[in-house]
Each structure stands twice: as structure tokens, then as C-alpha cells.
């Protein structure tokens, strides 16, 4: 997955440079405009949103943002998302690395069958299991607990995680593991002190796409969590938008609060995120 950056020779452009840049700017503005409008509107009153939708806000008052965060529970939803996402990603990394280690370093009975089952997980859509999953979770009384999200998010993330991490481990020369084993290291030690450190770049990629998938997941969160105190950002925001259905300034504040950190995160980690997302999709 090397994004082999080929030497880019200084090329002479046929299109005049300035015109070309202007075209890019125009496209970017069109794409970005809804988000700008969202942020501007969060500083406006309902009447000015109606009267002059394109006008810049007259003052930057973050009062509505604070209100959305505290009174509107956006803070609570963000915390819930962080807990669920954090737990799922940790579980995916740990269980995924262990499984990849087993598949990569050992030959054993049932290996192909188990790998095949996991590979099936790469193809199966959510629709193939969420109906029975919801009746199971209801029977086990784990709906309206965080487990109802952590378990399926972990299960959904594992197939791709195992597949990618196995590719990384397969590339590691056997001698490295053999040497440790001859030195008397146990299997668990070999995994913990040799495999895991070697896997670090792979784990980072897996962490990114797993985190984004968990953070943004909606359908299962909608089905399994009715308790407002446990809602994650997607379902929480939906509840928020029906609670404050006509308070547009507040709604735009909530949307902005959720959106802006993601833009910052993208600007800072864009290389890793692009790698993670494309690896996560081209499966």
C-alpha cells in the first residue's frame, strides 16, 4: 500500500495557472459552502437565518454552542461516542492482532475454515444479521447498555483488521520469531514483545478506520439504544434535532460542534486517515 510518490517533474501546464487555481477554488467553495453556512448560521437568530441566509453573522457569540453542549446533551453524546469507540477500537486491535498472529504463524486444523468465515465477514452487509442480533440482544437484556454497541462494532471491525494485520505479519521473516523461540520465549511473549511492536503501523491504520466506523455508526445505535443518557453522536443528534426542531441557531450550533473537530482531525492526520479509509474500503 505504498503511495509511491513518483518524482514529479516540474511540468509546463497548458492551462494558465491562475485560471486553473481559480477553478479549483470555485469547486472547493461550492463543496465547502454548506459547512460555512452551517457555522455562520449557528451565530444567528432564527429571524436573520430566514431574512438573510447568506449574510455573515454580526457577532461571534458562542453562547449557543455552550447551550447545545450542556443543555442539549451534545457533550454527553460525545462522551458516549468516545467510550463506545474507544472500547471497540481497543478490542478490535487486541483480538484482531491475536487472531492475525495465529493465522500467520501457525498451521492448524480448521485454519482455512476459520479464515474463510472471517473473510465472509468482509462481504456480509449489516442487513444480513441485524434483525436476529436485535432479538438476541433483547433476550439477553443488553439493549440499552454500551455492550449492545461495543460487541457488534468489535465484531464488524474484526474481519478487515485480521486480514490487514495478517498481511503485515506474513511479511515478517520467520527467523525473527524463531530466534526468540530458541531463546526460550513463550508464545505469548513472542506475540507481545515481537509481533505487536512490528505491527504498529498496521495497528494505526486499523485504529483509524475502526474508530471512524464506530464513531459514525447509526442503524444499530438507533435500534439498540433508547436511553438518552447512553446515545452516541449520530442518534443523539437526531434526538436533539427533534427536541429543538424550530431552534435553528441551536441546531446549527450542535452540527458545528460535531463537524469542526473532524475537520481539524483530518487536517492534522490526513495522511493516516486517507490510508486508513482507503485500506478500509478497498477490502
Amino acid at each position: 500500500m505504498s503511495l509511491a510518490a513518483h518524482s514529479r517533474s516540474a511540468t509546463r501546464l497548458r492551462l494558465p495557472d491562475i485560471l486553473f487555481t481559480l477553478a479549483l477554488v470555485a469547486i472547493a467553495v461550492v463543496f465547502f459552502f454548506p459547512m460555512l453556512w452551517m457555522v455562520f448560521s449557528s451565530f444567528k437568530s432564527n429571524s436573520s437565518i430566514f431574512a438573510s441566509p447568506f449574510a455573515l453573522p454580526t457577532e461571534l457569540d458562542f453562547g449557543r454552542w455552550v447551550e447545545a453542549w450542556e443543555i442539549g446533551h451534545i457533550g454527553q453524546y460525545a462522551l458516549n461516542s468516545a467510550i463506545v469507540t474507544g472500547a471497540s477500537v481497543l478490542a478490535i486491535l487486541l483480538l484482531g492482532a491475536a487472531a492475525a498472529f495465529a493465522f500467520s504463524r501457525y498451521r492448524f486444523r480448521g485454519r482455512n475454515l476459520l479464515m474463510g468465515l472471517l473473510a465472509l465477514g468482509l462481504l456480509l452487509p449489516l442487513q444480513s444479521y441485524f434483525i436476529a442480533q436485535s432479538t438476541m440482544f433483547t433476550d439477553l437484556a443488553i439493549t440499552d447498555t454500551r455492550w449492545a454497541l461495543i460487541l457488534p462494532y468489535t465484531a464488524m471491525g474484526l474481519p478487515l483488521a485480521v486480514y490487514l494485520l495478517k498481511v503485515y505479519l506474513d511479511a515478517v521473516p520467520d527467523e525473527l520469531f524463531e530466534a526468540a523461540r530458541i531463546d526460550g520465549a513463550s508464545d505469548l511473549r513472542v506475540f507481545g514483545s515481537i509481533a505487536l511492536p512490528l505491527l504498529r503501523p498496521g495497528l494505526a491504520t486499523v485504529a483509524i478506520f475502526s474508530a471512524l466506523a464506530s464513531w459514525n455508526e447509526f442503524l444499530l445505535a438507533l435500534l439498540y439504544i433508547q436511553d438518552d443518557a447512553l446515545k452516541t453522536i449520530p442518534t443523539g443528534l437526531l434526538a436533539f434535532s427533534s427536541r429543538y426542531v424550530t431552534d435553528y441557531g441551536l441546531l446549527f450550533s450542535a452540527l458545528s460542534i460535531v463537524t469542526l473537530p473532524m475537520i481539524v482531525i483530518y487536517i492534522v492526520f490526513n495522511k493516516q486517515i486517507v490510508e486508513g479509509i482507503t485500506a478500509g474500503s478497498v477490502k
Binding site: 513518483h6 495465529a102 462481504l123
Partner: protein, 293 residues
């Protein structure tokens, strides 16, 4: 040489396989089982054989939902994959200094679809929405619509939002693929006097054909699984104009309690998605080498 120890590998696998088996495999099998029953989720379960499948085949609403999702997929192939390809082509003309552009186009991919859906419901709002306001200020009042409330425009309106989100995603995939096209090839074509458009059309695009195939697969199978945007923006309305299989089956199961029938529809949908996935993977494997992201 790989060591051949009896229990160790299984110990490493138990946690992952347990979670995966419990939360995915078991429910897949159970959903398949439910599809042959009539059941409301808690009362007695009655075995009805293939009745649910026969019912699905004759259900006009279910058939319509497939028509809608096919139209949606067709629209998103244009709005996501084709637009993404053109944007990637533009950016790859000059590779440096395009980060700001990629940030602007890619950001929506990062957002929860619910956020996108709520935001765009505002863009389409007929009282103060950005779209109608823009049409008004351009003097095009005749074109103003109740975008999400009009059966003629609702499906297209949702598709445009999908395009807004995923054009940047496909642009990113194609941009990565373009940067793997050997610079010498491009230099040679330039020396032969090829313009940027010719370069794009006859050299760059053909050379990333595998990436395009993968993108089409993602767009099509992803389209069949669409839910979030539809649920938040229209939930199947107006008058069923945007009802897609997933919104329809969620309603059947969770609103009307038809677990058996919903499961049969889920199995049909799953079969379509898995079959397409397998077919595309086969087709791509037969072609020489795979494109790495």
C-alpha cells in the same frame, strides 16, 4: 517453517472468533432461519416455508424499493465515482499544494451521515434553505422546489447529498491510484504533444482501471446498504418515493413486527450484495494485477 503446536493457535483465536461468531455469524444463521417463519418477535413462531419469499416477490412496495435503490445507485455512480474521477484528474494535474482542496472535498466523508442529513435537510428547507435562497437570489424562482417533499425530486435530492459526501472519497482513491502511474509514461505522452485532457482520458484513466472497478463495486454494494441518509431525510417518503430495501425492511420488522417477512427481505438483499461482491472480486482477480490502495 511454521511451528505446529496443538492448542496455542486456538487460544489466540478464541476471543476474536467468539465475538465474531456471537455478534455476526450466529445472527446471520438465525436471520436465515427466521425468514421461513411468521413471527412478531415475541409470540409463537410459525414455520411457513417459502411463503415470505413468495410474498416478497409479489410485494409491489418491495419491488419499488429495489427500483429506487437502483436509480439511486445509478445516480451515485455518476455523482460519486465519475465526479470523483474528474476531481482526482484535476488535482493530479498539479500534485503539490492541493491539500486545502482535498480537505474541502474530503471533509464530509469524516462526518456521521446523520450530521450530513440534518445539515442538508436545512439546505433543502423550503423556508430558509440554502438552495432555494440561492435560486431566488439568481432570479431563478421558477426552479424553487420543496426538494425533499416532492416525489419527483426527493430521490435525486438524496443522491446529490450522497454525491457531496462520497465524491471526495472516490477522489482520494483515484488520486492515490493516479500517483502510481509512472511519471515516465506521462512525460513521454507530454513530449508527444498530448494535452491534459488527452492525458487524462487516454493514459491516466485506462491505467487505473482496477481502482475504478473497485470503486464501482464499493459504490454499488454500498448503495444497496444505504440507510442513514434516507432514514433521516425522508424515511421513505414522500409517498414512498424514496423507500429503499433497508428502510422498508426496518419498518417491516421494527414498526410492524413482521420479523419473518423482514428477515426474508434481508436474506434477498444479502444474496444480492454478496453475489455482486463475489462476481466483482472474481472479475478483478482474473485481470492481471491488483491495485493496492
Amino acid at each position: 517453517m511454521k511451528p505446529n503446536r496443538r492448542i496455542t493457535p486456538y487460544l489466540f483465536l478464541v476471543p476474536a472468533m467468539t465475538v465474531f461468531g456471537f455478534a455476526v455469524l450466529l445472527p446471520v444463521i438465525m436471520t436465515f432461519g427466521y425468514s421461513f417463519t411468521e413471527w412478531n418477535g415475541y409470540g409463537p413462531m410459525v414455520f411457513v416455508g417459502l411463503d415470505n419469499y413468495v410474498k416478497a416477490a409479489n410485494d409491489v412496495l418491495f419491488r419499488d424499493s429495489f427500483v429506487h435503490v437502483l436509480l439511486y445507485i445509478f445516480a451515485t455512480i455518476v455523482l460519486e465515482v465519475v465526479v470523483g474521477l474528474v476531481l482526482a484528474g484535476l488535482v493530479s494535474v498539479r500534485r503539490q499544494g492541493s491539500l486545502w482542496f482535498r480537505v474541502a472535498i474530503f471533509t464530509p466523508v469524516m462526518l456521521p451521515m446523520v450530521v450530513v442529513a440534518v445539515l442538508w435537510a436545512f439546505v433543502y428547507n423550503n423556508d430558509f434553505g440554502l438552495l432555494n435562497a440561492a435560486l431566488h437570489s439568481l432570479g431563478l424562482d421558477d426552479l424553487q422546489r420543496v426538494w425533499l417533499g416532492d416525489p419527483a425530486t426527493a430521490l435525486l435530492a438524496v443522491s446529490v447529498v450522497s454525491g457531496w459526501v462520497f465524491a471526495g472519497f472516490y477522489m482520494t482513491i483515484f488520486y492515490a491510484a493516479f500517483s502510481q502511474v509512472p511519471a515516465e509514461v506521462i512525460e513521454a505522452a507530454r513530449l508527444d504533444g498530448a494535452g491534459e485532457w488527452q492525458l487524462f482520458r487516454s493514459i491516466k484513466v485506462p491505467m487505473i482501471r482496477n481502482a475504478i472497478t473497485v470503486a464501482l463495486l464499493l459504490c454499488i454494494t454500498g448503495g444497496f446498504q444505504g440507510f442513514d441518509l434516507f432514514y433521516v431525510m425522508t424515511n421513505g417518503g414522500p409517498y414512498g418515493a424514496t423507500e429503499i430495501p433497508t428502510t422498508y425492511l426496518v419498518k417491516s420488522v421494527f414498526t410492524f413486527g413482521n420479523v419473518g417477512y423482514g428477515s426474508a427481505m434481508a436474506v434477498i438483499l444479502t444474496t444480492v450484495v454478496v453475489a455482486l461482491g463475489v462476481a466483482f472480486t472474481r472479475a478483478n482477480r482474473e485481470k492481471s494485477e491488483k491495485v493496492q490502495p
